[in-house]
């Protein structure tokens, strides 16, 4: 589903290389986790895949369902099924959460050649999904992420994911800033979306999120490359021994 080949990326302004040859394949129905220390390039990868400005791809490719992601605008990537759950969801005062989501859902439907979802159907859908994530009606009416707690922001990201029904979901440090209960709620939301035709890329520092969202494959990223790939046991190894041992192996 997602194919990343020999991806090299540098920061546009400083010219500093961040990704130095990433190879990664995420299959439909699978959950891949990427772990790694700060500065290893995990978040950069999520931004490059979703099309944020400020990065320059110098080599390599990234495709989703056979389509070249790197040539597309961020909204086009979203329309073919890419979703990034932000580490720091952005506050947008004065724009209602519901208005925002409806605009997004209908923009994607339009891009896919589908009819817009009418107000009644949308309302029914969003209420059902919000209930599962314990998001009350009040939160839906409030401006996007304004005054939301850390947990509420992350639940709101998952709500967007549920409404947009992407093919590939990237979760960028979704566990940051969450207490245990909030992490459970968010993880349950993610697990409910697991399906045979949907892939996940879960980026995290810590193993604890992976207790709730069980990965099929775990990758360790270090200094812009994936230096080791394994099963769920790899996450446990990191938790126990840190990244130093793996780095030593790589060297």
């Amino acid at each position: 589903m997602l194919e990343i080949k020999n991806l090299h990326v540098k920061l546009e302004e400083e010219g500093k290389p961040i990704l130095k040859g990433v190879n990664l394949t995420v299959e439909a129905g699978k959950v891949h986790a990427i772990m790694g220390p700060n500065g290893s390039g995990k978040s950069t990868m999520s931004y490059v895949l979703s099309g944020r400005d400020g990065y320059e791809v110098t080599e390599g490719s990234a495709t989703l369902l056979g389509e070249d992601l790197l040539e597309m605008e961020p909204e086009e990537r979203a329309a073919i099924g890419l979703f990034l759950a932000f580490q720091y969801p952005v506050e947008i005062p004065g724009v209602g959460n519901m208005t925002f989501l409806r605009t997004a859902v209908n923009a994607q439907r339009k891009a896919r050649g589908l009819e817009e979802m009418d107000a009644a159907t949308f309302l029914k859908e969003i209420r059902a999904r919000a209930k599962e994530l314990k998001i009350d009606a009040e939160m839906l009416k409030r401006p996007v992420n304004v005054g939301f707690s850390g947990g509420e922001k992350k639940r709101n990201e998952i709500l967007q994911m549920a409404m947009l029904e992407p093919k590939l979901c990237i979760l960028d440090e979704t566990d940051s800033g969450l207490d245990v209960d909030a992490m459970k709620l968010v993880s349950d939301g993610v697990n409910a979306l697991r399906s045979p035709d949907r892939g996940f890329l879960v980026i995290t520092h810590y193993q604890r999120l992976l207790d709730h969202i069980k990965p099929d494959v775990v990758h360790i990223m270090y200094d812009g490359r994936i230096i080791k790939t394994g099963g769920p046991e790899l996450a446990l190894e990191v938790e126990k021994n840190g990244y130093a041992d793996i780095r030593a192996e790589d060297a």
Binding site: G51, R52, P74, R77, P143
Partner: protein, 429 residues
């Protein structure tokens, strides 16, 4: 006279084209007094301190610069869906046919044009009075010019709770029209009304509104200044607030070659509240100036100024706002914010926020910023599949929200948001 010769010449050239209405009746004295003020002050020039940012020449030229008519396609006029009393002026001339009967529970309505022969006691006390008080310390000669030469206007005395809003609708049908309208509103103690205004009025429009609010009175004002791109307008609101009274005014401006909106408010009774807000969007040849002067002269009063301007393609936004806290006006709560969103490098925002405080127990805050679209927020929206143009519109609405939220009525608020969204979708790129 101490006026510079050039200013005196410009003033006389303008005055030569104007004449007072034939039947001035009880307005004769205030008009003559106002004309004397105009001659003493002279009409504004670009060297005047409060006209440094906006060139007044098109507003004082002897003849109104031609303004092409704007064709509204299939868009319904603003406030059309609301239950309100309509008073229509076409190029500054009252249109009885298009207006509703001037009768409404809770208010008495007369026209300035038809009232000359009548003795309307309350209006005598208002007409030209608040305007005359509003020149200290800044001259506002276009306001005095209006008092001297206004051909018509609406006189509203609010005696109870107005049954529904009054909507003054201004239509622009002549490319060369030059209109002076003067409204007086007296809100009696404990009374309440909402005034809606919409439309461009004329090729050049000089409008003045005096609002005198007695103790416990409430006045809501929402106006949209029409979409005619070539029109010019100079408007003044002079408001005086009694004890525990409320004044809230919001203005939406989209398009207009030249707009100067002045608002002069005096808080004269304790615990009074005055909010004045504006949201404007300008594209291209567009100058929009909000000049506000709020005087706190009583205890425990609150004032808010919230102005937002979205500018592109060389548009210019101006804000000159002042809070003056007089000696003894303790516990004043003053807030002033003026912000611009510059959608390109060609547009500019000129701001002059001022505070002058002579009391020691007050809280006044002010801020003024210019910024571009937040790239992180734009990426966030686009990553959800919202195309760049729509995402930009949402962020512009987000920027304007603080000003639009000053409108208390939810239905009107939504109407204004909808109008702004419509304008944005027609002016992309």
């Amino acid at each position: 006279m101490g006026l510079p010769q050039a200013k005196q010449n410009a003033t006389e050239a303008r005055l030569a084209r104007l004449s007072m209405p034939p039947e001035t009746g009880w307005t004769k004295l205030p008009r003559e007094a106002a004309l004397a003020r105009v001659r003493a002050m002279g009409l504004p020039g670009s060297r005047d301190e409060y006209w440094r940012f906006s060139d007044p020449s098109s507003l004082i030229a002897p003849e109104a610069p031609r303004a092409a008519l704007f064709e509204v396609k299939d868009e319904a006029p603003v406030f059309d869906a609301m239950d309100r009393l309509r008073i229509v002026f076409v190029d500054g001339v009252f249109d009885a046919e298009a207006s509703d009967e001037l009768a409404l529970a809770g208010v008495e309505i007369d026209r300035l044009g038809g009232a000359a022969g009548q003795d309307i006691h309350w209006a005598r006390e208002v007409y030209g009075t608040l305007e005359a008080r509003g020149h200290e310390p800044v001259d506002r000669p276009l306001a005095a010019l209006n008092t001297a030469f206004a051909t018509d206007g609406v006189l509203i005395r609010v005696t109870g709770k107005a049954e529904k809003p009054v909507n003054i609708i201004y239509l622009h049908r002549s490319e060369t029209s030059d209109a002076h309208l003067h409204h007086c509103i007296k809100v009696e103690a404990g009374a309440e009304m909402t005034l809606l205004e919409n439309g461009p009025a004329a090729a050049r429009f000089n409008k003045l509104m005096e609002v005198d609010i007695a103790d416990g009175g409430t006045f809501h004002h929402i106006r949209t200044q029409g979409r005619d791109h070539e029109r010019r307008a100079a408007t003044h609101i002079f408001a005086r607030l009694g004890k525990e009274s409320t004044f809230k005014s919001f203005t939406m401006t989209a398009n207009g070659r030249m707009t100067r909106n002045e608002c002069i408010i005096e808080l004269t009774g304790d615990n009074a509240v005055a909010h004045v807000a504006g949201a404007c969007v300008g594209d291209g040849d567009f100058v929009h100036d909000d000049t506000v002067f709020i005087t706190h002269d009583a205890v425990d009063c609150e004032s808010r100024q919230v102005f937002k301007k979205v500018l592109r393609n060389g548009a210019t936004g101006i804000f000159q706002g002042k809070i003056l806290v007089q000696p003894g006006a303790q516990k004043t709560d003053g807030y002033q914010i003026s912000q611009s969103l510059l959608l390109d490098g060609d547009s500019q925002f000129l701001a002059k926020p001022e505070l002058e405080i002579y009391a020691d127990d007050v809280a006044c805050s002010h801020g003024s910023t210019s910024g571009a679209i937040d790239e992180t927020a734009l990426f966030y929206l686009r990553s959800r599949g919202v195309p760049r143009s729509e995402a930009t519109d949402l962020l512009v609405l987000s920027f304007l929200a603080e000003a639009i939220e000053e409108i208390e009525d939810e239905g009107i608020r939504e109407e204004i948001v909808g109008r702004m969204a419509g304008w944005l979708s027609r002016h992309r790129g």
